[in-house]
């Protein structure tokens, strides 16, 4: 939700692009409501997708039941590799959860226009991804019914958990992130729920929407406080995005294990998280804009801008990969050097090269504007990015644990069908929530899109006046879509 903006001095360009540039095919407020609220009716394709997601979830749940019965050994854990697919997938989903708040909070503070149409689905993606990630520390427990041991509280001798431990930091960081992200999503939804409430004819649905809208009436008083609160929440959420994955990286960096004990880890993890999150945004947004016929809201310009962000974060991630090698080389530390050699040319070369090709090489195609504006290519690339980012976490977790200091400690790791079943189940869980969300609540922020669409005027003025005043560049008036 954009802050109420003050008119700019004559001749100064607006920081929020006008509808002429952003949504040339959207004419008025009624069209926004009609088209976006129109996406809420369930379809056959949606039922099919939901059915597949629930099936995957059931496979995961069944597999977990088997694991509880058999013990964690069923998931392929054996010394020295006691972290595997579950921690990899935990970091993967936390990473996915970063793009949502990046797009909704950081890009909001930077007034990046392209966020308007994709931020709602990114925020929803964030909440569901963090909910999915939160399952993995529990799945990784031999006795999951003791999950409440994760919460910092004292034992019967009143000994509290060690607050210098990264695992305690994790609990604080992830719970704060989940709470603030969910709040941010819900607060942004309130005006849109009010729109649905006012359009709804079914009395039961109307009553539910009325409760959820909290009696929102679009009054100037409500908007005035709402826009301020939204701004401050965005300002809080921005460093939170950076802190959460930094804290996740401390789970590794605080250990002395070769390949983990590096000060580069926090920025490296944050950049990787944003990169993977944008990959998932493409995976979700591109089919959605097609299925919901919303190509004139998520325009090629929006995809182009998001692709530039993807390219930038790919470059940062690539730089971090290369810096790791340089640090190992210049450290003079034999264990560190051997570990990195083993990673790229030894036992785990196949995984490292999947990572490098998917995350460093393929995204370089985005230097081409033609490919940045090609939704099919962006979708295919996003699948490679998702794969590459999962393997990045594999390369971080497994090679380090399997190749520590003493050669007699070295070992291997092979995920079992239990790991794959639970991995599949996590995708089922995530997509089940996401699919339920997109048919109950608007997938785009209707009231924020209306901010960009020009309001109806009695005395309409010629848009070319803006060109004359220097508010819009002549090139921008027509070349939007």
């Amino acid at each position: 939700m954009a802050t109420t903006a003050t008119p700019l001095p004559k001749g100064q360009r607006p920081n929020i692009p006008s509808a002429l540039v952003r949504f040339p095919a959207v004419k008025d407020y009624e069209q926004v409501d009609r088209e976006i609220a129109g996406t809420l009716g369930p379809s056959l394709g949606w039922f099919a997708a939901l059915g597949i997601a629930i099936l995957c979830l059931l496979i995961g749940a069944t597999t977990w039941t088997y694991q509880i019965h058999e013990g964690l050994g069923a998931a392929g854990y054996q010394p020295p590799v006691m972290w595997g697919v579950y921690i990899i997938t935990f970091v993967f989903w936390v990473g996915i959860g970063h793009a949502g708040t990046l797009i909704s909070a950081i890009l909001y503070l930077f007034r990046a226009g392209f966020r308007t149409s994709i931020y709602r689905l990114s925020e929803a993606m964030t909440v569901f991804a963090v909910m999915t990630a939160g399952l993995f520390p529990i799945l990784h427990l031999g006795r999951p019914w003791k999950f409440f041991y994760l919460i910092p509280y004292p034992n019967w001798r009143l000994l509290w958990p060690n607050p210098k431990s990264p695992l305690v930091w994790d609990v604080f960081a992830i719970l704060t992130y989940l709470t603030i992200s969910s709040t941010f999503l819900y607060i942004g939804l309130i005006p849109d729920i009010a729109i649905l409430r006012d359009r709804e004819k079914n009395p039961i649905r109307k009553a539910i929407l009325s409760q959820l809208a909290l009696g929102w009436r679009n009054s100037d008083r409500e908007w005035r406080h709402f826009t301020r609160a939204y701004l401050f929440l965005a300002a809080f959420a921005t460093p939170l995005v950076l802190s959460v994955h930094s804290v996740v990286s401390f789970d590794f960096a605080m250990a002395l294990t070769p390949g983990w004990h590096a000060t580069i880890f926090p920025p490296y993890f944050v950049a990787g998280a944003i990169f993977s999150g944008i990959g998932m945004v493409f995976t979700i947004a591109i089919p959605l804009r097609k299925a919901f016929k919303l190509e004139h809201y998520i325009t090629l310009n929006d995809l182009d801008a998001a692709a530039k962000l993807c390219l930038f974060t790919s470059c940062v991630v690539g730089l971090a990969y290369l810096t790791e090698f340089q640090v190992a080389w210049m450290s003079g530390n034999k264990f560190e050097q051997d570990y990195f050699w083993n990673r790229v040319f030894g036992q785990w070369a196949w995984a490292a090269w999947i990572m490098l090709i998917c995350n460093m090489v393929l995204p370089m195609s985005l230097w081409s504007q033609k490919l940045r504006r090609n939704p099919k290519w962006l979708f295919i690339l996003s699948l490679f990015i998702n794969l590459g980012m999962w393997f990045e976490r594999f390369v971080i977790v497994v090679p380090s644990l399997s190749h520590e200091f003493e050669p007699w400690q070295w070992g291997s790791y092979r995920p079992t069908w239990v790991d794959y079943g639970i991995l599949l189940g996590s995708f089922g869980w995530f997509f089940m929530w996401f699919l339920l969300f997109i048919k109950q609540l608007p997938v785009m922020a209707m009231s924020e899109i209306k901010e960009v669409v020009p309001a109806r005027m009695r005395h309409s003025h010629d848009p070319s006046m803006h060109v004359a005043e220097g508010i819009i560049h002549p090139d921008e008036t027509g070349a939007a879509h």
């Binding site: 939700m1 954009a2 109420t4 903006a5 003050t6 008025d28 407020y29 009624e30 409501d33 009143l158 509290w160 958990p161 060690n162 607050p163 210098k164 930091w169 604080f172 960081a173 704060t176 709470t179 603030i180 709040t183 607060i187 309130i190 005006p191 009010a194 729109i195 006012d198 359009r199 909290l214 009696g215 929102w216 009436r217 679009n218 009054s219 100037d220 008083r221 409500e222 908007w223 005035r224 406080h225 709402f226 826009t227 301020r228 609160a229 401050f232 929440l233 809080f236 460093p239 939170l240 802190s243 804290v247 009231s447 924020e448 209306k450 901010e451 309001a455 109806r456 005027m457 009695r458």
Partner: protein, 166 residues
């Protein structure tokens, strides 16, 4: 409470009506707009929201509490871990920061609820479902003897519909 409600389809008409009502000293004016518009902010002339005060106070309280938790936990049963001081402020900054964001963020939302007057159990008078769609609304609370004046101003500026409500 009684007053006059006007529905406008055009923003400039609604803004001019608000300016005129202010000029005629109608005090209690509420504008309904499907999306925040700076034109109304200027016409109504309200000051900035006080939500920020709560954000600041509870953010500071949160960071204090966030540092206090681990310091108290460590001091309650002192164990030297990794040769670090019992109250190690560097690692505790993480908890301080997270609790600041949590408490400051939630306080911001509750302050917004308080100032905006939500949750509201009933829609009360002076609202129309069109105002979340494409229309702008003006609700003027006024004495019975000035109702006609208010209605005339709204009509003069092109209101699609003007009605009395109580």
């Amino acid at each position: 409470m009684q007053g006059v409600l006007g529905a406008f389809h055009e923003i400039d008409s609604a803004v001019h009506a608000v300016e005129d009502l202010k000029k005629q000293k109608f005090g209690d004016i509420t504008v309904y707009t499907p999306t925040p518009r700076h034109e109304f902010e200027h016409a109504l002339g309200h000051g900035p929201s006080k939500v920020r005060i709560f954000t600041l106070i509870f953010g500071l309280a949160g960071v204090t509490f966030g540092y206090w938790i681990p310091i108290w936990m460590s001091d309650y049963w002192p164990l030297v871990v990794g040769g670090k001081p019992i109250a190690s402020w560097v690692p505790f900054t993480i908890l301080g920061f997270e609790v600041m964001v949590l408490i400051g963020g939630l306080a911001t939302v509750f302050a917004m609820f308080g100032f905006a007057g939500i949750p509201r159990l009933t829609m009360t008078v002076g609202y129309d479902a069109r105002f979340s769609g494409g229309h702008f609304g003006i609700w003027v609370v006024t004495d019975p003897d000035r109702v006609e004046d208010a209605m005339n101003i709204l009509k003069k500026h092109g209101a699609e519909e003007v009605r009395r409500e109580r």
